[in-house]
Subunit: 504 residues, 2 copies
Amino acid sequence: MTSSDRIRSATFRSKIMSADEAAALIASGENVGMSGFTGAGYPKAVPSALARRIETANAAGQRFRIGVWTGASTAPELDGALAEVDGVHMRLPYQSDPTCRKRINAGEMEYMDIHLSHVAQTVWSGFLGKLDVAVVEVAGITEDGRLIPSSSVGNNKTWIEQADRVILEVNSWQSEALEGMHDIYYGTDLPPNRKPIPLVRTTDRIGEPYFRIDPAKVAALVETHASDRNSAFTPPDEASCRIAGHILEFLEHEVHKGRLPKNLLPLQSGVGNIANAVLSGLNDGPFEGLTAYTEVLQDGMLDLIKSGKLSCASATAFSLSPDALTELNADLARYRDRIILRPQEISNHPEVIRRLGVIAMNGMLEADIYGNVNSTHLMGSQIMNGIGGSGDFARNAYISIFMTPSVAKDGAISCLVPMVSHVDHTKHDVQVLVTEQGLADLRGLSPKQRAKVTIDKCAHPDYRDALRDYYQDALVRAHGKQTPHILEEALAWHVRYLRQGTMK
Amino acid sequence: MTSSDRIRSATFRSKIMSADEAAALIASGENVGMSGFTGAGYPKAVPSALARRIETANAAGQRFRIGVWTGASTAPELDGALAEVDGVHMRLPYQSDPTCRKRINAGEMEYMDIHLSHVAQTVWSGFLGKLDVAVVEVAGITEDGRLIPSSSVGNNKTWIEQADRVILEVNSWQSEALEGMHDIYYGTDLPPNRKPIPLVRTTDRIGEPYFRIDPAKVAALVETHASDRNSAFTPPDEASCRIAGHILEFLEHEVHKGRLPKNLLPLQSGVGNIANAVLSGLNDGPFEGLTAYTEVLQDGMLDLIKSGKLSCASATAFSLSPDALTELNADLARYRDRIILRPQEISNHPEVIRRLGVIAMNGMLEADIYGNVNSTHLMGSQIMNGIGGSGDFARNAYISIFMTPSVAKDGAISCLVPMVSHVDHTKHDVQVLVTEQGLADLRGLSPKQRAKVTIDKCAHPDYRDALRDYYQDALVRAHGKQTPHILEEALAWHVRYLRQGTMK
C-alpha cells in the first residue's frame, strides 16, 4: 500500500508535495503547532526538512527560529532535529528530548512548562500569541475531506482550528484500523459560552472519529511511511516491583475499608518503568472490571486489556514498545472497542478527571518531608522534562499517588529531602507517597504528622536518621511550628550534592 | 421577635435546650463539623459552652479535645474560645483566628490546610475519619422541617448529611429575608456516580433554598440572637489603590485586545483591603453588566450591586462591615434577586470555575522572581491563615491574578524574593503578578522571561537591584538555566530577616 491510498479525497491530493517544499512554507519567527504525544503521531518528515532549511539559513548568517508547540514529547526527528540546529526560540508544553533538554539547560532555548489541560484554552484565548502553522500527522483522509487521526490526538484539533495554514503528513505506516478509534469532541468553547462536558463514563463517546478541516487552509500534504518512536520495554526492576506491591496492597486495603469500589475507579498512570510495574501488578492482582482514564497507553495497559482485567481505556496517545505495537497493529480491530483516544484537553480536563474520580499515579524526582513534590527540576534549576499532565490529574484525582525509588544515582541522591528544590505539586495535592521502602498515607494529616509518616515509611535507611535529625531540629528551632523548617539548612542536601556529588 | 418564631416545625421545637445542655452532647475525641465562613453564619453559643466544659474537664485533669472542621474562618466565639482552652486536636480547612494561629505555630494544635473545594468530597469519601457531630447555625426552620440557611453556607450541607448527630443554632438576629437566597445543590455524589454540575451562568439556580435534614438526627436546638463577626471597613490605602489601578488598566487592555468580553468574565475576589480597592475601582470604571462567582461578598460587591454595575453575585458567604450589613439587612429583599449563596463545594468547584472562565484575584504573602506564590507561611514555617479557595480559583481561572504590596513591615520585607520560602501556587497557576509598583503579565513566558518582567514591573526600588543581582548571578552560576537558582543563597533573604529583622 502507498500512502496515496490513504488520501481518498481528490481535493486534498492536489496539495501533495515533498517535505522540503512543505517546510519552505514555514517562515522564521512563526509559531508552529505540531502533532505528537509521547513519541506517537508526530510528523516524521517536515520537521527534519525544516531543520535542514534552518541549518542552511544559519550557515548563510540568517537567524531562523520558530516557536514549537506540541501535544507533549515527540522524537529525535522533531525535537532533536530542530534543537540540533538551534531552530527553536520557544518550546511548549512538554519535552523529553536530550538535545532539546541540553539547549534549554544551557539557556539557549526558552521553554514554557504548562499544564497539558491548559494548552488548548490558552491558545484559543490568544494568550500565547498567534499560531501560524500546524504540522499534523494523520493516518488518512476520507472521501469527504475529514482527517483520520494518527496514534496520538494531543492538541491537533486545536492546531488545525487555530492555525492559518495546515501542513498534513499522511503516514501509511500507521494502521488503517485506527479509523473509528478516536473521539474528537467539538463542544469546547471560550467562556462565557462553555457548557458541561457530557462525559460521565470512561467509555462515553461524546464526539466524532475525525478531525474537521477547512480545505482552504491546507497548504501542503506530505506522504510518509515511517514508524513512531518506540522504546523497547524493559522488565521492571526490583524497586519498581516493590513500589507496585505497596500500591496494590494500599488499593486492596481501601476496597476492604469500603472507600473504593471493588473494580476501583478509573486509573491514570504516568509513563515509565514504575508505572508499567504497577500495571503489571494489577494484571496479577485481584481486581476485575478495571477502567483507565489516562494520557498514554503503555504496554501494561494493553496486557490488562488482553487479559480481560481492563474493560476500557481512554487516553490521548499510545506509547508502546515495538513488540506491543506490532501486536496492536496486527490485531487493532480487536482492541478498538476498548480503547478511545481523545484530545488532550479532554483526556486531561479537570472537570472530567474530578467527575470520574480518577486514581492518579505519577512519578516524581523528589518529595520533601511535608509531601511537596518536585516533578521537573534537578537541583532546583535544571529541567528534566516538564510537568506534563501530572498536575491535571493529581489536583483533581480521587486519590493522588506519587512514586519514586527512595534514592537515585546509586544512593548519592535521596529522593526524600528536607525541602524540595522546586515545587510542582504542593502538599495539598499529594495524598500518598510511595517508594520501594513503603507507602505513606498522608490523607487527613497535618504537616508535622505527614513528616513523621513520610520519613518512617518512605525514606531510604541511609538517609532516614538525617531526615529525622533535620525534622527534630526544625521542630525546636523553627520560627513557627506549622511546617517547621530551618531555612539555612533546608536546601543544604542539594548544595552538598552539587559540590560533592553526594547528599551524604 | 424571639427566635422561637423562627422554628415553625413543632417536631423541632421539642429539641430546644440551652447551649450548655447541647455542648454536653459532644464527647472528647469527636470530630465536629461547624458552620461558619469568613465570620458569617458560625454557631454563636454552643462552641463557647463547649469551651467552658473543656476548661472544667482540663482543670479536673481530664484531657478533652475535639476535631474542628468548618467552612472557613469563624470568630473569637468559636475558634478563639476553643483554642484558648486548648480544646482542639485538629483544625481544618482554614482559620484566621489569632489565638488559634498562636497555638498552631507553637506546635500545640494540628492544622491541616486543604483546598476548600476538596473538603466536602474528602469527608464523604471517609478520608478524614468519621464526622460525629454537626453544629450548624440556621436562620430558621420551616413548617415541614427544612432548614433556612444563615449568612454563610460553607460545608453545612455536608456536615448535616455526614454527622451522626446535628446540633442546630437558630439565630433570630439573621435577617428573615435570607429565606430564598440560597441555592443548595443536592446533585453531588461520590464516583463512579458523579454527573455534570448543571451550572452554566453565575445566575443559575440548580438546587433548592433549604437544607434537608432527617429530624431523627437532630440532637439539640439552641436559640440565639447574636450578630455575626464584622469588621469595620477601612478605606483602601494608597498601595491598594495603585494595585487596583494597575488591574483595571490591564482588564481594559484585555478587552481592547479582544481577549475579554466588554463585561469581562465572572469575577472572583479574595477578602481584604486590596480586594475591596479593586472592587471600588470597578465601581468607578468603564465596565457594565459585571458578574461575580466568588467565595465571599464584601462591601465592595454590595456597592457594585447598588450602583447597577454588577448584575449578579454568587458566593458561599457574606463578609460585610457593620454598616454594610445594616444596610443589607434593612433592604435584603432588594438584593435577593442578584445574590446567590451556594455550598462551598459548588462556589469553589473546579468544574464550574473553569467553565465560567473566572477572573481570579487573590492576595499573597510573597512571590518569587519566577512567579511561584506563597499564600500561607511567613518565613517558610509559620502559618498565617491557610490556602482557602485561592488554589481552586487560580488553577481553574481564565486569568489568574495575584497581588500584594511590594514590601511589608515598613520595607523590612520584600514581597518579591529570589525563591519563596513556601509554595502554595506553582508558576503554572500564576499568570499575572501585581504590586503597587506595576503589573507583570507572565502569560506565555519562560521562567527567565518571567524573572525579568517580574523584577522590572513589581519589585520595590529598594530591592530591585538586589533581585537583579541574584538573577544575573544565578544565570551564570546555576547548574541549569531553565530556572536559574543559587541554592546556597535562594532563601538567604528570609534567613537575614529572621536574624536581623530586615531583608535589606
